[in-house]
């Protein structure tokens, strides 16, 4: 079997390594517009060979698009156009509605399985990838009723092979939820990093005072703008809603602080503490 991975970054690279580790006789074909990424992918054993989209996509039994979401929205059509008979296309995009809407307009829509792995780190590029990144993580599969059962089965088998747990939902439900549990935390972290860096310009040594709590909260501010700018664009409405709720909550806190509403501030934290139950209970 041949699996073609388009986009040899953190996720595409980790998928390649995980496939090779689980099933040595699967041949991984790698596509990346950056020749340094292709070189790195070959030397790290992510891919057995690399080449052009037009050459490798038509050869593969399974094609995975692991590029930024604006590129996926273009490649989903381009890939379905040249996909081999009986082959399956899937993707790793963090926003699903636009990609799925694009696929919906293609006559071979039923050979596309939209997916989103809940996995990643704040690092990017093939050099950041590792075989264990996907194992034990959730893979969200969207709009599965639009897929050929055969296509779905093939993709589920691949994702299960690399140790992922499958979850199903609609692409619109995905985008609405993910705005809260992923996109919003990236924005809050980018904004925190920016705010503190701004303060640092005038006040030296501030980072001597930063502990592990700050590092943890600001970690996602290291994430790649190339990956995230298109995600924010594609999930604009849901993110605007989540962000507005978040800003309202912060303004409410500021008002309570100004009014010395100690009890209100206490309740604000007490309610948020419930996140412990939720994170540990899942």
């Amino acid at each position: 079997m041949e699996v073609c991975i388009v986009g040899l970054g953190l996720l595409g690279g980790s998928l390649g390594l995980a496939i090779k580790k689980a099933e040595a006789d699967v041949r991984v074909l790698g596509v990346d517009t950056n020749p340094l990424h292709e070189e790195k992918a070959l030397s790290m054993g992510i891919a057995d060979e690399t080449g052009a989209f037009e050459d490798l996509v038509p050869r593969a039994d399974i094609v995975i698009l692991a590029t930024p979401v604006d590129i996926i929205a273009l490649q989903v059509t381009a890939a379905l156009d040249i996909l081999k008979e009986g082959a399956v296309l899937s993707d790793f995009g963090s926003a699903k509605r636009k990609i799925c809407a694009t696929a919906d307009r293609h006559i071979r829509r039923d050979w596309f399985v939209a997916a989103h792995p809940i996995a990643g780190t704040e690092d990017s590029g093939p050099q950041a990838s590792f075989a264990g990144l996907l194992a034990g993580k959730m893979m969200i599969i969207c709009d599965r009723e639009k897929c050929q059962p055969e296509a779905l089965e093939k993709i589920e088998k691949l994702y299960t092979l690399v140790g992922m747990k499958l979850v199903y939902m609609s692409s619109s439900s995905h985008d609405s939820h993910i705005a809260y549990v992923s996109h919003l935390s990236h924005i809050s972290s980018f904004a925190l990093g920016g705010t503190v860096l701004d303060k640092e310009r005038n006040e030296k040594n501030i980072f001597n005072m930063a502990g592990s709590g700050f590092s943890s909260t600001v970690r996602l501010a290291k994430s790649s703008p190339d990956m995230w700018a298109p995600i924010f664009g594609q999930n604009k409405e849901n993110i605007t809603e989540a962000l507005t709720n978040y800003i309202d909550r912060l303004e409410n806190f500021r008002n309570m602080l100004e009014k010395d509403d100690r009890e209100g501030i206490y309740q604000f934290m007490k309610e948020a503490n419930d996140i412990r139950r939720v994170l540990e209970g899942k």
Copy 2:
């Protein structure tokens, strides 16, 4: 030598364990208003004996106040009143200006060394403490020019003994900086937890979709309201400034998103990425 630790929570407990580990013949006296904490401290080896503030503080050569900051602001006077001749008082408060201002009004002010360990986890209570918590971490010492050299030396020796690195600044500079690198990240995290929990009320299974990025960003939302409500109160002005800058930045992001200002959004993230250099370079 006898060291009295008042407040046997995460930090006080970890200090006790670290002292006993580094210097077995130091006797640790523990004070806590919660009898269960006292019991736990004895069974964990945090303290050699426990008892009342009025009984143990006058006996000790060094007294450390590791209670919530509103309690410290009261205990600093009470402890200086009954401190043994030649003994030293220090504290672990996360906001320093109010505590230092209180100490400034005491005639034995020069036997007080204001300190803030940049260490902690989102857990609390003696059961969360461990001997290694303080090792390698920063200890910020404030307003050292107000201390007897002998008092300062004694305290520096103790904090160095448990492996801490000493940093010096004024209490007002401390409070202004810490509002950004600690207090603000707690607020952003509490607000994120609250916002997502609020959404969850209507939408089940949202947390299936939460990955390690969300967990990292929301980790501090597990922190203790009993500890944090008084900190926010004591550092109100600085926090209001930091929070206002943070909210402005989030609103700016929301505006750019609404206007599809892709370049602006890209720059917003690119600037925040610089946090990587700062965190890794320190």
